[in-house]
Symmetry: C2
Subunit: 304 residues, 2 copies
């Protein structure tokens, strides 16, 4: 007998088009285009001390994804905010994971997106334990997957959609060799991003991350960190990066909305020393970012 | 008010993990990986006179897709056949559309597919009107989409998965210019396939279709037609085809499991004469294929 939804998702609240239920009861039609075609967009963020982190930025990106995919939003930004806060209030979870999914709804069978006349809005709220300390201390073991990242001219990774099989298969490669996760290159051989995070390298004190034209999602933590580098006069660039270059880096780390900055201790056969981690650039940036998040929380407007 | 599922899918029967309901009641969990990530495979075929067309071939391809995506099948082939026939019997529809979807089920949030311990099996059965005669008579208007087909080294089109946004966006391009549908090229500029069909051209009596290495789904009608060409000594090849080549063809047509052979009367600005359609190679192949289907039905084993 497989694990039940009840066991997988305790203390979880799901809002489906305004109706809140527990995890077990939260369902969508098999005719939902998100289910049939992955024809959906989504965002993930979390709350700390009953504050939603960078909600404006996530909503901006959700709208950007919708625009890229010609997905008409039948829910206004205000409605999405209201339903999210309603779900969080109902949950009463101080530190919650939030996933907001908007699909092109149900239509007659067929790919034509212009026949869509509504959305389905699904908001998942569940307790979010902080990412395990061991990963911040010991670092992640990543692999460069053999599967390529979707081409920006095909299924553009810059739109955060429900088509995540590319990333699922990259993660499958990582699991096969015992790695924690995977990063992917594009069809020109340049690094793009990880399965659910952006990738960074430090060489001779200079910070680099793959440029937008590599084909990747514009990470919200990525943008914050670029800004922090500039404000703190830390040399930093968005550029094209090859696997060889990252394998010869001094330090490697990732950024993610739910995890912040996490160091990488191993990338395939290359190991990155963590003995002097305290004085590393990664550690310095991590400190700056955590301070930024703390200050942000004092002023932020989405509380429940 | 948007169109209801009841109105969109009259006389429709859906089997979800063995339980048959009407369209309105057919639901999956919002935690299903098919809904969250498009982490699913599927097949579509139809029945004529209560016979399932080429069911063995579709089941072979379903298993092939599962293999390509490391998707463990917890339903045996026999169970899938049994549930499909059960749904068809319940529906009592002589000419039915059948969609079989298998997902990696519900898991904890996260891409790792190895944590999946079950499938969700969804079988949709609904009345299938024959594809409108006008398309067989007048031909389709297609466009070569600007969006590229997913790279075979990224999200391989050879696996029939729930990641169909690439095709949805190609179809969106078609609808914008009033075309019926779209075909796509790969990142090397070679033709691959249509949004839900294979593409063919005839030049000086010789039939060509994009080769597997172009990156496409191995169509079941495509395979049948290649076989029929060989058996009937009609020159035919699987090869690399450029947009220029197909625009200079004498005839163009498509193949699809649910539509069979359909002529193309227009591809972007190029129009293909339909005045001598009766003596065309397309017409000859169409005749051979329809005869083949008719004979197949006399001997086939999946009836209800």
């Amino acid at each position: 007998m497989h694990k039940s939804i009840k066991d997988l998702f305790p203390q979880t609240f799901v809002n489906v088009n305004g109706t809140i239920s527990n995890a077990e009861e939260a369902k969508v039609s098999v005719f939902d285009r998100g289910f049939l075609y992955g024809d959906s967009i989504y965002e993930v963020t979390y709350t700390e001390d009953r504050n939603i982190l960078f909600f404006d930025e996530h909503l901006d990106r959700l709208e950007h994804s919708a625009g890229m995919l010609d997905l008409t939003l039948y829910y206004s930004r205000e409605q999405i905010i209201e339903e999210t806060l309603k779900t969080l209030k109902t949950s009463n979870i101080p530190r919650a994971y939030i996933r907001i999914i908007i699909t092109r709804g149900e239509t007659a069978i067929g790919l034509d997106p212009t026949i869509s006349d509504h959305n389905n809005l699904v908001i998942i709220v569940k307790p979010q334990a902080p990412y395990p300390t061991k990963f911040y201390d010991d670092g992640l073991y990543l692999t460069i997957a053999s599967i390529l990242r979707n081409d920006a001219k095909a299924t553009n990774p810059a739109a955060k959609s429900g088509n995540y099989l590319n990333n699922v298969m990259a993660m499958a490669e990582a699991r096969k060799i015992g790695a924690d996760d995977a990063i992917m290159v594009n069809n020109e051989g340049y690094l793009t991003e990880g399965t659910t995070f952006n990738i960074w390298m430090v060489k001779n004190g200079k910070v680099s991350t793959p440029a937008a034209r590599s084909g990747l999602l514009m990470g919200i933590t990525r943008a914050k960190l670029l800004k922090l580098c500039h404000e703190n006069s830390i040399g930093c660039q968005e550029t094209l990066i090859t696997p060889d270059q990252i394998l010869q880096a001094d330090e490697v780390f990732i950024t993610s909305s739910t995890k912040g900055l996490v160091p990488v201790s191993r990338l395939d056969d290359r190991k990155f020393e963590r003995s002097n981690a305290k004085i590393s650039v990664t550690s310095h940036l991590s400190h700056l970012y955590n301070k930024y998040v703390k200050n942000y929380k004092l002023n932020q407007k989405y509380t429940y």
